[in-house]
Symmetry: C2
Subunit: 364 residues, 2 copies
Amino acid sequence: MSHLAAPGHGVTAPVIALEDLLGFCSDALKIVGLSDADALIGAQVLATTDAWGIFTHGSKILDGYLRRLRAGGLKADGRPRVIAEGGAWGLVDGGSALGMVTSVFAMELAIAKARQQGIAYVGVNNSSHFGAAGYYTWLAAREGLIGISMANDHPSVAAPGSRGAITGSNPISYAVPAKRHRPMFLDISIATVAGGKVYAARERGELIPDGWLIDSDGRPTNDATLYPGSSTLTPAAAHKGFGIALLIETLSGVITGAGVTWGIRNWLADDQSIATDHGAAFLAVDCDTISGSGDFTARVDALIDEIHAAPPAVATERLLVPGELEWLRYERAMSEGLSLPPDVMRSLRAAGAFVGLDVDSLFH
Amino acid sequence: MSHLAAPGHGVTAPVIALEDLLGFCSDALKIVGLSDADALIGAQVLATTDAWGIFTHGSKILDGYLRRLRAGGLKADGRPRVIAEGGAWGLVDGGSALGMVTSVFAMELAIAKARQQGIAYVGVNNSSHFGAAGYYTWLAAREGLIGISMANDHPSVAAPGSRGAITGSNPISYAVPAKRHRPMFLDISIATVAGGKVYAARERGELIPDGWLIDSDGRPTNDATLYPGSSTLTPAAAHKGFGIALLIETLSGVITGAGVTWGIRNWLADDQSIATDHGAAFLAVDCDTISGSGDFTARVDALIDEIHAAPPAVATERLLVPGELEWLRYERAMSEGLSLPPDVMRSLRAAGAFVGLDVDSLFH
């Protein structure tokens, strides 16, 4: 590793080329038994997620996948398959394959059906943690369709009036293709903030703002040291986030026959040899066909331009469209490579040690 | 009007039977030119919304519709029509008819197509304010399908970093049918709180909590007296609410060719003789067909039972499922009739005066 000094920025962190990060993830997945094709899919999702700057769901989680693949809770040779379908819908049994493999399969099916029918829904059961929901919606947007994806998870988020967790953090993403601009792109959980923000405050010895956390009696607390053992994350905007969480739970788990709430295992903390039974849902909308006029993406551009031109608040340079920061980071990562946060580096080294690969030599 | 004393509750407000409220709304709509069938649809939406206790979007807004219908900005003889369609999608020109008429038409089309294809999307342009988004999703749930509805609107809600309004309050609703239980049912806007809550605080001379409002510089404010002239509502959960608002804008307005953001007129404040050009979107999902097993609604019941059984926070009796309060109010309204808040009463009297009907004689 060398530490290069960039002009005006002092000593910089070591950098890895995106293709090297992708290669490392892919090699590691192959070592635990994935086919070349499946390993590439998993690696593409993780490296792209890091490129967007969503480090909580990028290569940091490779280590957990490797251990679960080796322990058998994820099947290295698992194959997703369509178990039922109709004109604009499909139901996929994930076969306990890597969640990325099943999710790409499901979104590609949704895209193909939406091209025929205008919109399509593909539900998934017997899957696992699928990483960043946004990767799959981007697949649709790259093909000129609107993509929507979501998944349920082991409960970690409270409901209004609850004492503990009721739903998972139930991620939801959309991507809307534009013409001159990158897609409008959102990838959020239904919690007020991610647990990682609470950990960070705890490490800094700071109180957390109102509204992030409830204690074990269900009372609001500002004490980050209670997390996660004696406190629970709150749902974003209270009943609104909880309500959306239950729609995601319905479309991902209830309708698909996957696990629901506590029926889903914690993919990191629970027995690594037992399938987690996550559900997920993928929707694609053929916006060009439906809009008919052929100017859908130009209309998206106009909306983005309008937001960019809107008067910003004092001390704000300009307004950002959902996904804009992620695309800026992505393009920078493509041209300059990535420097990864310390927690990601630690996890990548652990992953490398687990399969006998050296990650540090890939950083410059 | 008589004021009956209920045991233990002191003097009660006068009550109107739900069917009398429906009849009043229907009669008023017929006087300004709607057909019997269209007037009934409009009245059903308004009366049902009041029965749910969503008084901001119930018969209170009849007066505005009547004036717009008479001025020509809504067409009393307007007819929604399908202008393009495919297997699982349709595009409807609302013909500037009453938003409820077009919305019921569109959701019924979505339901019919979803029964064939599993899921369907129907987009609407040239519509107007459609009242409570939840009425249309309930239509789907009554037929055993999941319903999702949404609409865009004249901007009234800020974005993170904005100085003023960027999107409408862009309502979204879903209804998920259950078996023993009433449907899970959510009907929300993407604003942190409704403007009505700010007005109420202003009337009581109180400061509003952090996070509801920004002033005309885009700074957070607790001063309710600034609303609405010199302040703007915030999006729920900041970038999350704003992000969802833009998905709603896309599915309701961008894809349909309807007005987008400032291209939509304010249905109450702007010239009543000019169409508002709202867009809307309606989705239906045939959950029984997709789930296959025939136990979809039983699985929804199990999820609801699980939430009901979850340990509540201190000082909370039990957890509520989305829509549960609305259904409790609805059943009470069906059996006991409704008492309406003072602002609704004022508006109903104005509506009655406008068309020559007496509403007070219907209260007991």
